[in-house]
């Protein structure tokens, strides 16, 4: 066990955990931030996507000991009032079916738009390919990413 001071959503959070513990479980079990979802545990489905700095990463494969000083953003901290352009677009297009994968989808989409404010369909497909939606909302996800890009331009 070791103590880690983590910068999460603009606040410093202190946790006392085994350094091998993935950020996914630090968030969910230790900090009660359950917006980040467990899907596969091997970085294949994208449900656990968070931002490390500006990059979308799979938190199930990110040991807490590897985070260091990097700023973490989770779905809970993407915006203060749920009004990030990607969140607004998701509501406008009414993307979710079951909704379970959508936090991860939104985190991947918002990281994409941060580095590329008007992605092509192909760039969207590449950026979003690591996020599985079992309900099959991919066509709406694409529409919502494009809408968020438009509204933000």
């Amino acid at each position: 066990m070791a103590t880690y001071n983590l910068k999460i959503n603009g606040k410093t959070q202190t946790v006392d955990v085994d350094g091998a513990t993935p950020m996914l479980w630090v968030l969910r079990d230790h900090l009660q931030m359950v917006g980040t979802k467990f899907g596969c545990g091997i970085a294949q489905c994208g449900a656990c996507t968070i931002h490390l700095g500006d990059n979308a990463v799979r938190s199930c494969q990110l040991p807490v000991s590897a985070v260091g000083d990097e700023e973490i953003t989770t779905i809970e901290g993407l915006s203060e009032h749920g009004d990030h352009p990607v969140q607004k677009a998701w509501l406008e297009i009414d993307v979710p079916q079951c909704g379970y994968c959508q936090a991860g989808q939104i985190m991947s989409a918002s990281a994409l738009l941060k580095r590329n404010s008007s992605p092509t369909d192909d760039e969207i497909a590449t950026a979003m390919n690591g996020n599985i939606c079992r309900c099959g909302t991919y066509t709406r996800i694409k529409k919502a990413v494009k809408l968020a890009a438009e509204n933000n331009s």
Binding site: G35, C98, Y100, G136, K142
Partner: protein, 756 residues
């Protein structure tokens, strides 16, 4: 939340007294048995009232006019948590923006069919939901009539406002509700005419949308409770194995681990329903403080397995008894395929025989025969199986994702030794269902663990646990044969289908009824690999096989594939083979969706480089036709667009229904193209998403367009019907694009044998 069982069974809840002038009039009785907890506003800015008045089990109205509507059924992504309350709100005549939705707990006295299964949520509760709203509207009008001393019949109720024009009186629901709550529940109440609907038939956004996009706790796996422990299971790694022994000494010393023990789920003499069932009746349980600690401990656990004997399970399904035999031994995919091919070539059970099919094939100038198959599939809901339980000496509280709370309550109560009324089950939003959560063994598991630990416990499956637990979509095989005469007329049709362990055949569905000489046969193969309902059971294979065969047949006969189907349907409509009741579909509605998709997809006006396939199917009382467009990019087929035409009766929430159509198309393309479970030595060879392929963003159609048939028929199924036919449309479009027919799913592995 306390469940109160009254003497009145649910059958007494509604007694249909038939039609009366103007609208539907129903006789019924409501029980206000349930006291819902304080509602959580859907629109977070909605101001909560000081006092709520319960009008009936479906709704309560606040003194400020805000209305809470209970959504009775499990929400698995089919959007019933929005569309069921919409139906109540419409009959109540309330502005949708003043509605708060709450998930109802399991309550068999108040609600019927609290199940997410068979695409029946809306259709089975359609009248009850309408009655609930209409009753409240009636009672509010009655209260206003008494207050204003005017006839109730002269009062109008529009968007939460009661008005009596002649006297100039007007009041909001909030002002009248305390009086309305005292009004006697009417014996009969008039429902709106379809033309008067103001919410039904309009698109309303997902009531949980804001919570979903902001990451609020919503799902079973998100449940947190003071003092809660985490549990996870270790089950046998292969079907045909069972627990022999385990050594937990070292594991018990690992950080955070509280206990390790084995649990036997059901006693041998327990009278199981099909939904109670699990392949692995005895499992090892690891309980600890955090999920990660428990998962780590599971990996370190030393467990020995042994060969399981042959078992015959006695199960009941809706009152029917069934015996399910699980042979001993470790099975593999190679022997499965061999067995299916052997059986398809030998005798099978005749399910339907019209005319003289044997003679027709004997007289045929040409016989076309094609075989189709599909593998086992795992449901793979994105939220792995999980459930919360807090079991004390005389009470059990369960909370989590289940599609069948009512049926699982029986098993939980029996296993814990508690009376039914001491078991309370509440449902969270669910991260997918697809049939997997019909089988709630995990609820019994967590209840037993909580009872043993005397603590609140959340049971969490890893993805690997989930994918190797069984309850798979069965593997199916079908051979279709058609007899053509010298003039290329279809004179005989033969389908022989089977599966492990169930047959996919629907003998009385199309094209039965449209061909004089028709033979349908089927067979089954026993297995110890457990299977269960998977979105549109059986249809999810047979639709694609049948619709691919019809496509090939149309080509052989030189006919347009839509025209060919319409010819058959015309025959079935005008002069059906067999008695009218013997055919399970309405030929005119079937033809209707084909005609609509033909028009909307501009069928026949093909763009260069776009290869099209069509398919249509009937299941869950709904009709779906789809046209799928493929283009070739770098020698690879890419699905560009799907155009769907759907007849599911009245569409409650069109945009949400379109979402299901889009998802169904993506889901069907994905499973037909990419997914499959194979077995070796009894174990699935794919247990996570590194080897089990699910369709991904890049592989999804670029666009899905949905058109609904305008209809006044009460709603029919919507969750399942868009899924099965697309597999046929895909195969047919791939043929046009590549020149090769695809027969064996997943199509990415369906390669012709190497020659030369």
């Amino acid at each position: 939340m306390t469940l109160v069982r009254t003497q009145l069974g649910r059958r007494a809840f509604i007694k249909n007294t038939g039609m009366a002038g103007g609208g539907l009039v129903l006789g019924f009785s409501f029980f206000n048995a349930c006291k819902p907890k304080v509602a959580e506003a859907v629109a977070m800015e909605l101001e909560m009232p000081e006092t709520w008045y319960e009008i009936n089990g479906y709704l309560k109205i606040g003194d400020n006019g805000v209305v809470t509507i209970m959504s009775p059924n499990p929400e698995i992504g089919q959007n019933v948590r929005t569309s069921m309350p919409m139906i109540v709100a419409d009959e109540l005549e309330i502005d949708w923006k003043n509605v708060v939705v709450e998930q109802a707990p399991l309550n068999t006295n108040l609600y019927s069919w609290q199940v997410a299964g068979g695409s029946r949520s809306i259709s089975s509760s359609w009248q009850n939901l309408r009655m609930a709203g209409a009753t409240a509207r009636h009672m509010l009008k009655e209260a206003a009539a008494q207050a204003w001393q005017v006839p109730a019949s002269e009062i109008t109720a529009i968007a939460g406002v009661l008005t009596h024009e002649a006297s100039g009186n007007s009041a909001g629901y909030g002002e009248m509700v305390s009086a309305a709550a005292q009004i006697e529940v009417p014996e009969e109440v008039e429902l709106k005419k379809n033309s008067e609907f103001s919410i039904i038939g309009t698109s309303r956004k997902n009531v949980d949308g804001k919570k979903i996009v902001t990451g609020k706790p919503l799902f079973g796996i998100d449940v947190m409770r003071e003092g809660m422990l985490i549990a996870s299971l270790v089950h046998p790694p292969a079907f045909g194995k069972q627990l022999k022994s385990f050594d937990a000494e070292e594991v018990k010393k690992m950080p955070g681990i509280r206990d390790v023990f084995s649990v036997k789920l059901y006693d041998d003499d327990f009278d199981k329903m099909a939904f109670h069932f699990t392949a692995f009746n005895e499992v090892v349980v690891v309980v600890g403080e955090t999920t990660w600690q428990v998962f780590q401990a599971k990996k370190a656990l030393n467990v020995e397995w042994e060969d399981a004997p042959e078992v015959t399970q006695n199960l009941t399904l809706f009152g029917n008894e069934m015996k399910v035999k699980h042979p001993a031994g470790m099975e593999d995919s190679e022997s499965h395929t061999k067995r299916l091919k052997e059986l398809i070539a030998s005798t099978a059970k005749v399910a339907r025989r019209d005319g003289n099919p044997e003679q027709a094939f004997k007289n045929a100038a040409k016989v076309i025969e094609r075989s189709y198959s599909c593998p086992f599939l795992a449901h793979n809901t994105m939220e792995p199986m999980n459930f919360f339980a807090n079991v004390t000496e005389d009470h059990a509280e369960l909370l989590g994702p289940t599609q069948t709370p009512e049926w699982m309550e029986v098993a939980v109560a029996e296993r814990l030794g508690l009376p039914l009324e001491k078991v309370d089950i509440q449902m969270t939003r669910q991260g997918g269902g697809f049939g997997r959560r019909l089988y709630g063994h995990f609820m019994v598991e967590v209840a037993v663990i909580s009872q043993r630990m005397s603590a609140p416990v959340k049971l969490v499956y890893t993805r690997e646990d989930d994918m190797s637990q069984g309850i798979y979509r069965p593997s199916y095989y079908a051979t279709y044969r058609a007899a053509l005469d010298a003039d290329n007329n279809l004179i005989g049709f033969h389908v022989k289908a089977g599966g492990i362990p169930e047959s996919p055949l629907f003998a009385n569905r199309f094209p039965a009824g449209s061909i004089d000489n028709y033979l349908a046969e089927d067979f089954t193969v026993d297995t110890n690999i457990t299977t269960g309902a998977f979105r549109a059971p059986r249809s999810n294979f047979i639709a694609g096989a049948e619709q691919s065969f019809l496509d090939e047949l149309a080509e052989e006969m030189g006919k347009d594939p839509i025209d060919f189907r319409l010819e058959l349907l015309k025959r079935a409509e005008e002069n059906p083979v067999g008695s009218p009741e013997s055919n399970d579909y309405d030929a005119s509605r079937y033809a209707g969706v084909l005609k609509l998709v033909r028009e909307k997809a501009n069928w026949g006006q093909n763009e260069a480089g776009v290869h099209r396939g069509v398919s249509a199917y009937f299941c869950h009382q709904s009709y779906v036709a789809q046209v799928l467009d493929v283009v070739m990019e770098n020698d690879t087929p890419v699905v560009q667009k799907v155009t769907a035409a759907i007849d599911c009766g009245i569409v409650v929430n069109p945009d949400a229904a379109s979402n299901l159509s889009e998802g169904g198309a993506v889901d069907g393309i994905g499973h037909a193209m990419y997914s499959g479970l194979t077995f070796k030595d009894g174990a699935p060879e794919q247990i996570n998403f590194d080897r089990y392929r699910l369709i991904r963003h890049r592989e999804a159609p670029k666009a899905v367009e949905t058109h609904f048939v305008e209809s006044d028929i009460d709603p029919t199924g919507m969750g399942e019907p868009p899924f099965p036919p697309i597999m046929g449309a895909l195969a047919n479009a791939l043929y046009k694009a590549t020149g090769r027919r695809y027969y064996h799913q997943p199509f990415i592995t369906d390669k012709p044998p190497l020659i030369g």
